[in-house]
């Protein structure tokens, strides 16, 4: 047991702290949370207004990529077909709307990793793809074969490397095109599974809409809402920790732009912009701030202002690699990184406090 003498105590700042602490009451006021109806309404809006449309769009965009690739592979060239590029750009836009939803069917059966194996700090995808291309195996072009390979070679980054990579080896051009087509088909399959698993009877939509009882995933009305909140925060953290931080490095001199996402295709900025749009859209469509009517306007304004600040900081008027070679642009991107934290505070702290919802200080991000 700790024994502290009276003399020591009287001399110590502890006494001051103790005085201060007891000047206020011990018990913090407990804010009543929103009603179950209000929570269910937000969950419903998030599901039908955002989550499911996001996967439907992903399914469509992957189908369009398959179509563009099928056409392009009839006459594979050294430079990517503009139609393929356009389809790929659209797909990234769609993926930015869904990549941060790390729950539900996409989180099962390693679908997320298979769809896009990022981050890949050890360059696993590049290494494995090199091995594949060193000894092109026709069996890998059989429908469905790529889905059985490592997650690192069956998704978006592998597709990007095959189509937008610098290889001009004419000998493997046809093989690379076919492999990329198979990957596009694989993406389409995964997106299709996500839609089915969300919408089928007893699927994830029902699970989220009917919390409690025998539902082991969502046990009460708050948990689906916390899932929405968690998705928003995860989205912001992914942008920060997966895409900006690895590229920014510790300082301007130590920046590593190639560690950004989708650098090869030149889509890094577009992807980040689509990601922030996705967050705004989810906030708007789910009407999550309706749970705190008194603060809704303030919080929405703060969210919009902060995400605009992010967009402005991101808009350095240079391509991705060039932006990291210029001090002013680098500083601006660093600012974008910091702004994401401010945005996170809005959801993690301000909104949660105002609405009387505990997103889980500990539960949100385990340790």
């Amino acid at each position: 047991m700790i024994a502290i003498t009276k003399r020591l105590l009287l001399l110590s700042p502890l006494l001051i702290a103790a005085k201060r602490a007891f000047a206020q009451s011990t018990d913090a006021p407990v804010k009543p949370g929103p009603s179950a109806e209000a929570l269910a309404l937000v969950a419903d809006k998030a599901i039908s207004g955002y989550f499911i449309p996001a996967y439907e769009q992903l399914q469509k965009a992957t189908a369009a990529l398959v179509a563009a690739m099928t056409e392009s592979c009839k006459n594979p060239g050294a430079t990517p077909d503009p139609a393929v590029r356009a389809a790929f750009e659209k797909l990234l836009q769609a993926w930015a709307r869904a990549d941060f939803l790390r729950f539900g069917p996409m989180a099962e059966k390693a679908r997320l990793e298979r769809f896009s194996f990022l981050p890949d700090p050890h360059g696993t995808g590049t290494r494995q793809l090199r091995q594949i291309l060193a000894k092109p195996d026709p069996a890998l072009l059989e429908p469905g074969a790529i889905a059985k390979r490592s997650a690192a070679v069956q998704g978006l980054p592998a597709f990007e490397a095959l189509v937008f990579g610098t290889s001009d080896d004419a000998e493997t051009a046809a093989y690379r095109c076919q492999l990329a087509l198979r990957i596009a088909e694989n993406l389409n399959t995964i997106a299709g599974e996500a839609v089915t698993e969300w919408t089928k009877p007893g699927g994830w939509r029902e699970l989220m809409l009917k919390p409690g009882g025998a539902n082991i995933v969502y046990r009460d009305a708050t948990e689906p809402l916390v899932e929405v909140l968690k998705a928003i925060v995860t989205g912001l953290q992914q942008m920060r920790d997966q895409r900006l931080l690895p590229a920014l490095g510790k300082s301007f001199d130590k920046a590593k732009p190639n560690r950004g996402a989708f650098v090869r295709s030149g889509e890094s900025f577009a992807y980040l912009n689509a990601s922030i749009d996705a967050i705004d859209e989810l906030v708007e469509r789910s009407d999550v701030f309706s749970l705190t009517p008194n603060d809704a306007a303030t919080l929405l304004a703060a969210t919009e202002a902060t995400s605009n600040e992010f967009r402005q900081a991101l808009n350095v008027g240079k391509p991705w690699n060039g932006a990291f070679a210029d001090q002013a642009s680098y500083d601006s991107l660093k600012r974008a990184f910091d702004v994401l934290k401010t945005l996170e505070d809005i959801f993690n702290f301000r909104f949660a406090e105002a609405a009387g919802i505990s997103p889980g200080f500990n539960a949100l991000d385990g340790d």
Binding site: M1, I2, A3, I4, K6, L8, L9, S12, P13, L14, L15, A17, A18, K19, A21, F22, A23, T26, D27, A28, V30, F103, A107, E108, K109, A110, E113, P119, P121, H122, A151, I216, V217, Q237, Q238, R240, D241, Q242, L245, P246, G249, R259, K341, D345, N348, F349, R350, S358, G360, F361, N362, A363, D365, G366, D367
Partner: protein, 371 residues
Amino acid sequence: MRSTATERFPFGALADALRAILPFARPLGGAEERPVFVSSVRVGPRQHMLMLIDERGGVVGRMPLAGRGHDIAVDPARRRVAVFARRPGYFAVIVDVASMTPLATITPPEGHHFFGHGIFSTDGRLLYATENNFDGERSRGVIGVYDASGTDYQRIGEFETHGVDAHEILLAPDGRTLVIANGGIETHPDYGRQKLNLAEMRPSIVRIDSETGDLLEETVLDPALNRLSMRHMTFDGAGNVWFGCQWEGARSERPPLVGRIGRDGAARLMSFPDAIAPLARNYIGSVVASRDGSTIATSSPIGGQVFFWDAASGDFRDALALPDGCGVAPTEDAAFLATAGDGRVMRAGDGRLDPVARRHEQFDNHLRRID
């Protein structure tokens, strides 16, 4: 513990504070001393502190931290604690408990970060911290050894943990053996807290000789459970190591989450009753033994539950609901004090959870008792 301290210190509310730490007058004379509890807390957006509370949730002291703190190592002999920054952590502050003032700040060497946990040697002369060495091709876990005998807290050596994601570290009752949980999840600060290797995880619990750094024993689970990250531990009264896990596999699966390692180094996984298993949400945050060593508390902030186990038989005892509850520390006998991310302080014992206080501060994952 009823006290008559107010009779001795009849100056209103302040007496509450004094009661928490001063020797108590017993009705029949003599003095009684009380424990205090310490936790990292959040007080606002990105504002963090170290906080001392008494058994009734009253604040005894607070000290601001530069970032979010995590676990706290206690050196009862010198009335110091070391609070570690949450992973990836770049500071640990040594704090004098009586004055709640910092004595020193330790930073890990270049290319390392703290994992949020550490432990003092029995004599308080050394401080062991789990660290991530992320300089090489692959991250690896190490134990940084810091000289805590003086005032400069030099790092005087390091041991391998023979795994990645070294998390909680304990000192065995023999006072010499270190026990470390290698969570197996690879992270690199360049990618924040992103998990980088889920498919290739290989968690383990190792025993290391604190004097030589030699690996004495390694416990791993069945390869089918390679996504079961063993992270937090405690010793029970019989000297067994209890551990708690988080599952990085599919959410629809229900792997065991709590286990016990006996003297033979073999792990026995405990099972939840079927109706209880889903409540844990495949995540255990703190593992703590009661004072008498008879009861093990394992908390799940994600599941919002604290689970209790019989240490001797390994039988599941009960589950008590505490949303976002994670911090657990022993009070008297087989009872515990539990804290939650929403500021709640509860007393857990006899199969019940009773409210003690609700504070403005949000408690981080770990609560420690200072004797």
